[in-house]
């Protein structure tokens, strides 16, 4: 009974919502670095947003779009929750808060309303508050591995019945503070921003899903050999899968070197090249912790488009991740081609 992805949405340099991101991914032409027309007060109203950080606003807005775009698929109750990934929360807000403390006449002349937004759980907590989601509400800090880490955590909450459904994803802002930290670490990639969120339900329900999570795995590349560690992960999750079943992959790499490593690992594990490769960082820039959610969203967007043709549903897609701090991982999803609305399950060959 695999966890099902029943709907998704994204806010990205391509624009607002699933349609804008899907069109951008299918066209394959890189977008800008920032989300267009994203003024927090315009998007969310003035109430409760005067001190809100951009990361939180991106997440809150994206969950809102997901509920609106896919109203038929998204059902919530009091056990529906939120699981979001992050790198370090809003470093922009943290730096601003500290700078105020260090430069004002008294060290405590800071804006107290800013404090909750300086904490890493701000985005998830505000999504709950904004959209009335009282179930488990968790933030997982995992950098570029956040997509897989949140999916694994969410999957366990659904399997154990602790949540009826979950909004799982991540947001990342692109402010001066993040830019400084990334550049100092030698990241020369184009930095982007945005949020992508999946709506997950436990397997075995009678709802039509877009995809289901087949398997995932992570490793710590202890000896500094990420390619080998990732290949091991892939071999494990793809055990029993016919290589030709794997239709698409999305690497996490913000740069060609990492992307190549991820593609090589997939080829090594499968013994063949994958037909369709989509690299979110080439399209919307390096979105840090949100990369993983964008990888899955991109695969879903492509799968939906190509599913309209003659292809049979039930194809597999792989998202890989390599984080600078040594973690690698991958997730395999089966694209089911469901519309997301309540109909009979189809396409699952499990």
């Amino acid at each position: 009974m695999a966890t099902q992805i029943c709907a998704w949405s994204a806010t990205s340099p391509f624009g607002h919502g699933r349609a804008a991101f899907g069109a951008g991914v299918r066209a394959g032409v890189p977008a800008g670095d920032v989300v267009p027309d994203f003024d927090i007060a315009d998007r969310l109203g003035r109430k409760g947003t005067s001190s809100m950080d951009r990361t939180t606003a991106l997440a809150v807005s994206t969950v809102g779009l997901l509920c609106k775009d896919d109203a038929a698929a998204v059902v919530t109750d009091e056990r529906t929750g939120v699981v979001l990934g992050t790198t370090s929360g809003s470093t922009q807000t943290q730096f601003a808060f500290t700078t105020d403390s260090l430069t004002r006449r008294k060290p405590y002349f800071v804006n107290p309303a800013q404090m909750p937004f300086a904490l890493m759980n701000s985005a998830a907590a505000q999504c709950a508050s904004w959209h009335g989601l009282t179930g488990p509400n968790t933030t997982v800090a995992a950098g570029r591995l956040a997509g897989i880490a949140t999916l694994r955590y969410a999957d366990r909450l659904l399997r154990t019945g602790r949540a009826s459904a979950l909004f799982a994803g991540a947001a990342e802002e692109c402010g001066d503070a993040r830019t400084l930290l990334e550049r100092r670490r030698g990241n020369t990639a184009r930095l982007g921003e945005g949020a992508a969120v999946l709506y997950l339900r436990p397997g075995g329900g009678n709802r039509s899903a877009l995809a289901e999570v087949v398997a995932l795995d992570t490793r710590l590349a202890v000896a500094g050999r990420p390619r080998e560690a990732l290949t091991e992960c892939l071999r494990r999750v793809l055990a029993g899968v016919a290589p030709r079943e794997v239709w698409g992959m999305a690497p996490s790499g913000p740069d060609p070197v990492t992307t190549e490593l991820e593609r090589d690992a997939v080829s090594a594990a499968l013994g063949r090249e994958v037909e369709r490769v989509v690299v979110p960082a080439e399209l919307v820039g390096d979105t840090g912790a949100a990369t993983g959610a964008f990888q899955l969203a991109a695969l879903l967007a492509l799968g939906e488009a190509e599913n309209e043709g003659e292809r049979e549903p039930g194809r597999l897609a792989v998202a890989t991740a390599v984080d600078r701090d040594g973690m690698v991982g991958c997730v395999v999803v089966r694209l089911l081609g469901g519309s997301g609305i309540a109909t009979q399950v189809r396409g699952s060959s499990r």
């Binding site: 790198t87 904490l119 100092r184």
Partner: protein
Amino acid sequence: MTRRVAVTGLGVVSSIGTGADEFGRGLREGRSGARPITGFDTTGFAHDIGCEVVGFDPAAWLDDPQRLPRAGQFAVAAATMAVRDAGIDPTDARSLVSIGTTDGGADRGERIAEALVRGEEVTAEEAARVPAGLLSTGVARALGLSIVEVSTIATACAAGNYAIGDGYDAVATGDVDVALCGGADALCRMTFTGFYRLGAVDPAACRPFDVDRKGILTGEGAGVLVLETLDAAVHRGARIYAEVLGYGLNCDAGHPVAPDRDSVARCMRLALDDAGVTPGDVDLISAHGTGTKVNDVTECGAIHDVYGATPPRTVSVKSMLGHTMGAASALSAIACSLAIADGFIPPTINHTATDPECAVDCVPNESVPATLNVVQNNALAFGGNNAVVLFGRN
């Protein structure tokens, strides 16, 4: 999902003692970790008391401590102690490392912000010490774990209980054989300043449930628990401190900083149901008990809603440890485990007179011997993130 889960190893870095034994002695003695803060410059604040860890030598636990933020160093030390205490070698096990935190590497981040204010350079090494994910990957790396699931849970001040809950599920479902879970945080200027600005820092001592309480003391430290199946623990003849009986998570979905009494009560009921126990079975509550006016009244109100007029004894170890943020509920969980194993109730120190609005027996100032069968560990966080874990005597 029927595998029972045992706590078989404990590791502690705290302001009242390092290691489970010393920490346990500190709890029994009602030791206070309060002292003037040296971790950051407190010039300009009217008071500067916190519960700082003194004498911690990261080089004793790590070959390359400069790669991790202080919270990561604490986490590695606590995890190493926990694994030694459990007497296991997790290297080849399928394992989970789950470390909860509020601030992650924010103490390093604020040094960078400070360098920018002064027009100083920021090095690659400094920038690399900020990501919060380092807390769990640092543990996995230090212990040589490879086939590992790592998770740094950043659910603010309830993060320790979140991590323990996930560790429990991971072991109970058979996803992993061993879970190293808990929490870690280092003192940082940002947290101190924020609580200070909110008027929620006590000038001298943390006095939960007391009529004269004035707020928290910020603290630091780490607590890590080793969880494995009860069967495995029994099979290898391990010392079993306690059994994890179940837990509950929910979110107020309301105010960003003020807790919601009804929602906190719902979280306790979720945990009790999950553990299959009734309020009458519970012998002790280790409260979130921060020592702020609003937390203690709201939390005690919720306890009365669930437990009726005479709830079990309700203590706050924050009176001794201060508020160690993401480590708080992990250290409190370790206190629960030691209390069950060693038959005592840690006191709530600095206590003069109980606030009638709290109306709990907080075991003032001196620990008492007690046989404890079921203990509840509460955690509440900014953002309305509640997590309650129940431990039982095996």
